[in-house]
């Protein structure tokens, strides 16, 4: 029998307001095995931890139960405290009486009863706990960055700066991401390319950074410090090592009708192309869906004209496998397609465009060489109406429930740039709220209103329709309490941003959690904002939540700091809660190895004594403790019940269930 100490935390009023903590610790005191029971206002505080430590020493405790918040919050804290008092840290169990109890119940009586059950359950488990020793595993001193936008670029540069090798895997033919498509950046109106492309060049020139463009992560094995990643290098049909970026192939290519993705489909590109002038790597790529040679076998013009013999139509996807200690996810976003919003007529009117399309129309390297012309007829628009929150803060189901955060600022930027460049243009902005917190942000927006005379209208737009060639924007002006109709030449939809859809695949490969909006979940919203709950995986940029460039860069650098902190270590402590087979029961059926997501289980032939001097050789499972993550899949799969998990044994779980059912 263990000598158990039970410590009930009030968590200020978080627990104590709903759970009668005094009663819980009083009732629990008489449970078998419990030799000490106390409650305290903040068990995680220094005083609270001291209380635990003192009790361990004074009462010779062999096991500790803490009734507090989720183990994800403070399990590590209390294990450390117990260890400092001389107890094995795995002799500590947490009963989650906050998230699982006080926060979700209103009735004090009910909540107190439930807290009692939860604490008794933890006692049932701790009774069967055995001291565990953490092992060690080496750290591969190389990082992987998935996504080569500004987040990935910044993270890679910072990690490389500390002397570690970094690979950037980018699915597109060039790094640069969304920021490369922007014209100017708020709130300073720097040219986006001017501040981004030098960083892209830095990446290319940094000998610690390897850019794997036009590549995708296919498979991830291993765990923190020891990831093994399979990367698909998509067939580019152009030899990266030979291509000089001379663009002769682009001049000669006869297939010119591909939609130019970089310009949001506003103009066309050839089948062989370099996405934009400052692309890194500055190497051509062939679109196999569009290339005449690849589709019909006839053409081959680019190969004929390529002076360095870089074109290879027979190229196939290749796979490489590399080892990493840490992984940064920086997969970014895409603007929401507004075609579900029939009221704005995006699908029916060429002159209803999205903000990112406007960026390209304003950009000197864009389809109109930076002259703002309507897509329909190439004339200068004289009246431009912006509609904010298209798809953001939307509960109709067509859009997203969240605020996309960047739209108020970029719309103010667009409005201001247009008024600056074309002062005779009338600019209206429909908004629900203008949200511009941030350094120099509100001043920026005020400038649009006060200095540039942009007409901000509080209210939403109900309909955009075409009448005699004018786009009639019908909306409400809530301040004047009237309906307004603005005949416009161009309508710009400030569309919501959503995580790049490929993030779902990446999250699955990494077993990183993701929320209902496809944003990756951070380990703790406030205190561990750049770490995924999956150890060794870090989050940078919009894949974690809507954010602008300064925030993205800060987060990327924060990720880099975390990665560097991990990579400087030579060894990591491993989780001792891992699987182990009872060899006398194992019949070597392989079912556990089949379900192991980490490849931790192999089979060995072992000799067993049968008594009477006889022996037999049997095939039995063997778990690699450095690879096993303790997920428990093998334990529930094993048909003979031979596989068990230290710290979460079948016996412990059954005793927990019994403790709950007793109530």
């Amino acid at each position: 029998m263990q000598r158990i100490g039970v410590f009930i935390c009030w968590c200020g009023s978080n627990i104590a307001a709903t759970v009668d903590v005094e009663r819980v610790s009083e009732v629990i005191r008489s449970e078998p095995g419990v030799v000490f029971s106390a409650n305290y206002q903040y068990m995680c505080s220094e005083n609270g931890q001291q209380l635990v430590k003192n009790a361990i020493k004074e009462y010779n405790l062999t096991a500790v139960v803490i009734g507090s918040c989720s183990p994800r919050m403070h399990e590590a804290t209390f294990r450390k405290a117990a260890e400092e008092a001389g107890l094995n840290p795995y002799m500590v169990e947490i009963a989650n009486i906050r998230e699982h109890c006080s926060w979700i119940h209103k009735d004090r009586e009910e909540a107190t009863e439930k807290a009692l059950v939860l604490v008794r359950t933890a006692i049932a488990k701790v009774n069967l706990d055995a001291p565990l020793q953490a092992g060690e595993s080496p750290v591969t001193k190389r990082a992987l960055v998935i996504g080569g936008g500004i987040a990935g670029i910044q993270a890679a540069l910072d990690i490389a700066e500390a002397g570690f090798e970094v690979d950037i895997v980018e699915k597109n033919p060039t790094i640069g991401g969304r920021m490369a498509q922007l014209d100017k950046t708020f709130p300073t109106l720097d040219c986006s390319a001017c501040i981004l492309t030098p960083k892209m060049v830095d990446c290319a020139q940094n000998e610690k950074i390897d850019i794997l463009s036009y590549s995708e992560v296919e498979e991830v094995k291993g765990f923190v410090g020891n990831f093994s990643v399979k990367i698909r290098r998509k067939a580019r049909y152009v030899d990266e090592t030979k291509c000089t970026g001379c663009k002769v192939c682009m001049e000669k290519c006869p297939s010119k009708k591909g939609l130019n993705e970089f310009n949001m489909g506003l103009n066309n590109r050839t089948a062989i192309y370099i996405p934009f002038a400052q692309a890194i790597p500055n190497v051509a790529v062939i679109d196999p869906e569009q290339c005449i040679k690849l589709k019909t076998g006839k053409c081959g013009i680019c190969q004929k004209f390529c002076g360095v013999g870089a074109i290879d139509y027979t190229m196939k996807d290749e796979f490489i496998e590399r080892k990493y200690g840490a992984i940064v996810v920086a997969t970014g976003f895409r603007p929401l397609k507004p075609d579900k919003f029939n009221e704005y007529g995006y699908a029916d009117n060429k002159d209803v465009i999205t903000s990112l399309e406007l960026e390209r129309l304003m950009n000197a390297a864009g389809p109109t060489d930076g002259v703002l012309l309507r897509p329909s007829d190439g004339t200068h628009p004289k009246v431009i109406t912006f509609i904010q929150c298209v798809g953001s803060r939307d509960t109709s189901g067509c859009g997203k429930p969240y605020c996309s955060k960047i739209c108020c600022m970029y719309t103010a930027k667009h409005a201001m740039l247009i008024r600056e460049k074309y002062p005779d243009t009338e600019v209206h902005v429909f908004y629900i709220d203008v949200r511009t917190p941030g350094k120099n942000y509100d001043e920026f927006y005020r400038r649009a209103v006060e200095q540039y005379g942009v007409d901000y209208i509080k209210g939403m737009v109900g309909k955009v329709y075409n009448q005699n060639g004018k786009l009639m924007v019908q909306g409400s002006n809530l301040i004047d309490n009237e309906q307004v109709v603005i005949p416009s030449d161009l309508v710009v939809l400030a569309t919501a941003i959503e995580p790049e859809p490929s993030v779902r695949k990446v999250a699955t490969l990494l077993t990183a959690s993701i929320d209902t909006n496809n944003f990756l979940t951070e380990s703790h919203a406030k205190l561990r904002p750049v770490e995924s709950p999956t150890a060794g995986v870090y989050l940078a940029g919009v894949c974690q939540g809507p954010k602008d460039i300064p925030e993205t860069v800060s987060q990327a650098s924060a990720c880099a700091a975390k990665v560097i902190g991990l990579l400087v270590k030579d060894k990591l402590k491993t989780n001792p809660c891992i699987a182990h087979p009872d060899e006398s029961m194992c019949n070597g059926c392989s079912q556990c190895a089949n379900v192991c997501a980490y490849g931790a289980i192999t089979y060995v032939d072992k000799e067993f004594r049968l008594g009477g001097g006889k022996t037999e050789v049997r095939r039995v499972a063997s778990v690699n403790p450095a690879v096993c993550q303790g997920c428990g899949a093998c334990t529930v799969t094993c048909p003979s019940g031979a596989m068990d998990l230290s710290g979460f044994s079948s016996g412990q779980i059954m005793s927990e269930v019994e403790a709950i059912c007793k109530m």
Partner: protein, 259 residues
């Protein structure tokens, strides 16, 4: 087939055409509309107050009657349809409303939104089928017609689940089925001004005229609707820009049953 039918007050007085032609056409299509017994006013707009129970009761009585007589309730007036469908949803999903209404009515078996509410247009689309309807047309319309939806059929779109509130197609499909050419115009789902005509006629005048103007500009020769109040506003306050009729009248014409 037979189906329970809720006509509503206006269809017995001002909007007789909507009702009469609907019945004649339904018979021609093999559907008998059986007026439910002892129906009362649906409550018009009043039951939509969240804390109001008494005015929801007549809708619940009608729904409960239909539950025991085939499980479907056919409506025709847009306003009644809106009230009955939304009350049905409240009875299905709002515990508070449902228990208060059931406590009051003390039905043999509490009503929990089991009845399926069908608008006449949904009957044509989903039960008869526009393809079948087309086969039975004897006098194709051969006219450019603008569909006027108004608000009540479409919104709130989640509960009504009638069609895309911003880009509906059901009445256009109907027009096509009876041999006409639908005219899509931007104001077809704008509000006509509704009851504001009682207080301030200027507003519905402006709105109704804008609707008909919009339809005319896109080439419509006529506008059709399913709503008595919309018809009133478009006819009385619309400035006579285009003729406005109930969709059932055109249906009866096309089927050759208009007397």
């Amino acid at each position: 087939m037979k189906i329970c039918y809720y006509p509503g007050c206006t269809l017995k007085t001002k909007a007789k055409d909507l009702d009469v032609y609907a019945r004649l056409s339904a018979e021609a299509l093999g559907v008998t509309m059986e007026e439910i017994e002892n129906w009362q006013c649906c409550g018009a707009v009043y039951p939509m107050a969240r804390d109001e129970i008494a005015t929801k009761l007549s809708a619940v009585r009608a729904l409960d009657y239909a539950r025991h007589h085939g499980g479907k309730l056919l409506t025709l007036c847009s306003a009644c349809h809106n009230v009955i469908k939304r009350t049905n949803e409240d009875m299905r999903s709002d515990k508070d409303i449902s228990s208060r209404a059931n406590n009051y009515l003390a039905l043999e078996e509490p009503y929990r939104g089991e009845t399926q509410v069908l608008h006449y247009l949904e009957l044509l689309r989903d039960v008869v089928g526009f393809g079948e309807l087309k086969k039975k047309v004897v006098k194709p319309l051969n006219k450019k017609v603008g569909a006027y939806y108004g608000c009540l059929l479409l919104r709130p779109s989640g509960v009504m689940a009638f069609d895309d509130p911003e880009n509906p197609t059901i009445i256009e499909d109907f027009i096509r089925a009876i041999g006409g050419t639908p005219v899509v115009y931007p104001f077809r789902n704008e509000c006509c001004g509704a009851y504001v005509s009682l207080k301030n006629a200027e507003l519905p005048k402006k709105r109704s005229a804008a609707i008909l103007e919009s339809a005319k500009e896109k080439g419509a020769e006529e506008v059709i609707t399913a709503c008595p109040l919309c018809l009133y506003n478009l006819q009385v306050n619309g400035g006579g820009i285009l003729p406005v009729r109930y969709f059932t009248e055109l249906l009866a014409e096309a089927l050759g049953v208009k007397e």
